[in-house]
Symmetry: C2
Subunit: 493 residues, 2 copies
């Protein structure tokens, strides 16, 4: 199965595309830019959703659902918002088909034209704030902490499975607060929730930072983000959390009466992560043999493959396997026993490597005799013979899963550290970007013009101003103008 | 809060609409026919989803995700399918907005017209079978057992919250099989899964049956369904499971090689339930005081309300409440302690009645002295003083929750039985329909013409031919022509 997977070193982009398809994660559909998320890919997304949903609820949020369609006039109510999204909107103009008079098939019924066109939501601030207007009267209705799991559509011209698709799945949190401070705090909290999720579950180290004005969300006063580093040295924005100020409250006239009776506009935030995280997960850890999954997000954590000739041997191995399965399930490990006789063990080994199953247990007749099994780790591609008498199998597996989770994280962290370079001149900047990639930590004069110029010259963008930016006097790497601290540049997905 | 909720006996329809809004379940949005599912309503839907999803997985299904958009030409490939859905399709024709030249705002960019219009999925058979063509080559790829949780759009002219909305949330299962028998079995299995879910979790007794040809899904060879009875004597179709024969396989050329190498078209099924179930849940059990929720689907099963004057009393009550909360959470009961001082106990009682919380525990200073609490049941609106020394509180609550679940079910079952009438003449038919409502069990001559005629005359439709239909010679209630068994008629949502 993994035979013929392109090598990362030769064509990273092709490697990614092929891996996504061959590991049964996703594929392109008949509709331009829209993907099909296949069962195996979706099962990983479901694990992500479950953890994120739990984290959102633990921080006081509840889920709700808002309409797919947004009246065109709503989208236009916040000026910079419509500016940001107008160029990529799917527009519904009619509500009926009919048979063509000439019998040529089904056509759009021209008489079923909508009075006002509807936009398929690219994000839901406008429809949600128009709803919040009716939900919020007084300080007692605040804070309002709502999240939505939904599909959204942005008509991208160049698409890539998971990373950039016309339709994608995401969650979007939309909160309303009585004070600026509280909304700012929420914005930061959700960036931290995302960072914690990425690091703890995806084994993906991230830089927490703030977007520059150029890169800010359309309609936000401030955009916080988490940025990850992929194995090809390109950055990937993995989640954003926006402080909306009173922009949407003003656009939709959402006011509340404070304790003292005074009316004021509500303060807002919004924050989201999407199926793009699947792309990050795949690109950060996988290798030329296939997917490498962190155990905490692997749908199957352990696969047991019997090595046998004939029914007799299979029966004895199955007995042992069932014993393991019971023990592993008891401690919450997801395990699969692949006793299909239509495939050979070698084929199965390659298949589960391609699918990124963290641990493989092989049991043969000699193992039964010796009281051993062979345990193979997906992340390091190493094997060991495990003596069953040495410790309970479930303890061994739990320890290994923990170790794998940590190893994957540390490997990614080490890669990122090796690919984060401080540069102090324009030549150095270009050289590092060209020959090494990764994050470039450099001084910048703080202007959008310089940022644009650098992007134009090198395709590198400012990924973020790190939250923990050190105060440091310096000179802008391009203009030589004064700067108070370094920001992170990179080429990005 | 519940003050002023209209009475069921006076205006059932208004009662329903008001209840949905006041209990914070859903509301209409700015987009015609599209609803906002509010946090409380959504939390009930999430509980339904979780149980259904578990049941689907236990029967071997996995989730996946397919595109929102369907090319117009795809929808047309199965003749009766497009016939069934063409009249209610939302159509995307453009992919960009732009600023109007006259500065009047944002308009649809006429230059960004799609080559082929896209339909917002009303159901996904076509896009899924076009995908299955690439997934299925041989018998080894079968059965393919996939489910999708998604939003769909059907441009209904008359809409009602949850019951009939332009956009709704649902799950749609789409399976592919090597033999007719296996597909038929799957169709039946999923009807039974739905029936089990309705009865066990929603406390909603249902009739399992088969749709007549007139009422069949557009593109199916056979449609099985579960039908429930609402308190106003109208029926509600709560779930359907379709045997698709080889219709979609033929439309999308999906063939497989059998073990003997012979090529044949694949057999298909599809099955779905939607947020319509929320409407059924509300209408089946609730009363003039508000929502009545079966404990198995109640987001909060128990609310504890302190009755106190001053900090001292509250402190002592809180201590006791925390003890209960720990004990209840340990046995998996969801419990909320409402110690807000901004609302009075009476207000809270009415509020939790409106929201359908199954059990309310009130604790006052005298209770603390006496070692008692007051427990109130939402379903019967009865109260009892519970002696804490008599048995552990968590056992008492678990027993009560079970009893409530059963009581609600039995009440609905009794109502349905009282509202299921065998009739043997046309006069009787009209009389029962007019004055009593409910299911009418009557003989029918088996023709679509008679069915249409009865619908035209009375608005009653054949809800189903019951699965357990008894063989019984009889005469059609309208035409007098021979019939082999009774079918269920009703007015329906």
């Amino acid at each position: 199965m993994s035979k013929g997977l392109p090598k990362r070193s030769e064509d990273y982009s092709l490697w990614y595309n092929e891996l996504v398809k061959r590991a049964d994660l996703a594929e392109n559909s008949a509709v331009r830019g829209c993907m099909v998320i296949k069962p195996y890919g979706y099962s990983i997304w479901e694990k992500m959703q479950a953890e994120l949903d739990r984290m959102f609820k633990e921080t006081g949020h509840t889920n709700a659902y808002f309409p797919l369609f947004i009246p065109k006039s709503y989208l236009s109510k916040e000026a910079s918002h419509v500016e940001g999204f107008a160029k990529e909107c799917a527009v519904v103009t009619h509500y009926r088909l009919k048979n063509a008079d000439d019998g040529s098939g089904v056509i759009v019924d021209p008489e079923a034209k909508l009075e006002e066109e509807l936009i398929v939501r690219p994000t839901s601030e406008t429809v949600i704030w128009s709803t919040y207007k009716n939900w919020i009267q007084s300080y007692r209705d605040l804070p309002l902490l709502v999240n939505q799991w939904a599909n959204v559509v942005r008509w991208e011209m160049r698409t890539r499975l998971f990373l950039r698709t016309a339709e994608f799945l995401w969650q979007e949190g939309h909160t309303a607060h009585a004070t600026r401070e509280e909304a700012v705090q929420e914005t930061e909290q959700m960036m931290n929730v995302y960072a914690q999720f990425a690091e703890e579950f995806m084994a993906l180290p991230v830089v927490r930072g703030r977007k520059t004005e150029n890169e800010r969300f359309a309609g936000a006063e401030d955009t916080l983000c988490i940025e990850a580093m992929m194995q090809d040295g390109k950055a990937l924005q993995a989640g954003t959390s926006h402080f909306l100020g009173q922009n949407f409250a003003k656009a939709f006239d959402v006011k509340f009466a404070a304790k003292d009776g005074k009316l004021d506009y509500v303060w807002g935030t919004s924050w989201g992560v999407s199926t793009r995280l699947m792309g990050a997960l795949i690109m950060a850890h996988s290798d030329d043999n296939g997917l490498v999954l962190p155990p905490k997000l692997a749908p199957t954590q352990v696969v047991i493959v019997p090595i046998y000739r004939g029914e007799e041997e299979l029966k004895a191995i199955t007995e042992k396997a069932n014993e393991f399965i019971r023990a592993l399930k008891r401690v919450g490990v997801s395990v699969k026993f692949d006793d299909r006789d239509t495939y050979k063990p070698g084929w199965k080994f390659a298949e589960y490597e391609l699918k990124g199953v963290p641990l493989r247990i092989a049991i043969g007749p000699r193992d039964l005799e010796n009281g051993t099994v062979e345990i193979a780790r997906r992340d390091t591609l190493t094997k060991e013979t495990f003596e069953l008498s040495s410790q309970p199998i479930e303890q061994k597996i739990l320890d290994l899963l923990d170790e794998i989770q940590n190893t994957i994280y540390n490997k990614a962290l080490q890669f990122r550290e090796e690919h984060t370079t401080e540069v102090n001149s324009w030549d150095e900047f270009k050289d590092v970007l060209e020959n090494k990639g990764g994050f470039i930590s450099a001084h910048w004069d703080g202007t959008g013009e310089t940022e644009d110029k650098i992007k134009e010259l090198t395709k590198a963008t400012i990924r973020c101003i790190p939250i923990n930016q050190k105060e440091e006097e310096g000179e802008c790497v391009l203009t030589g103008k004064p700067s108070k601290g370094r920001v992170f540049f990179a080429k990005a997905y």
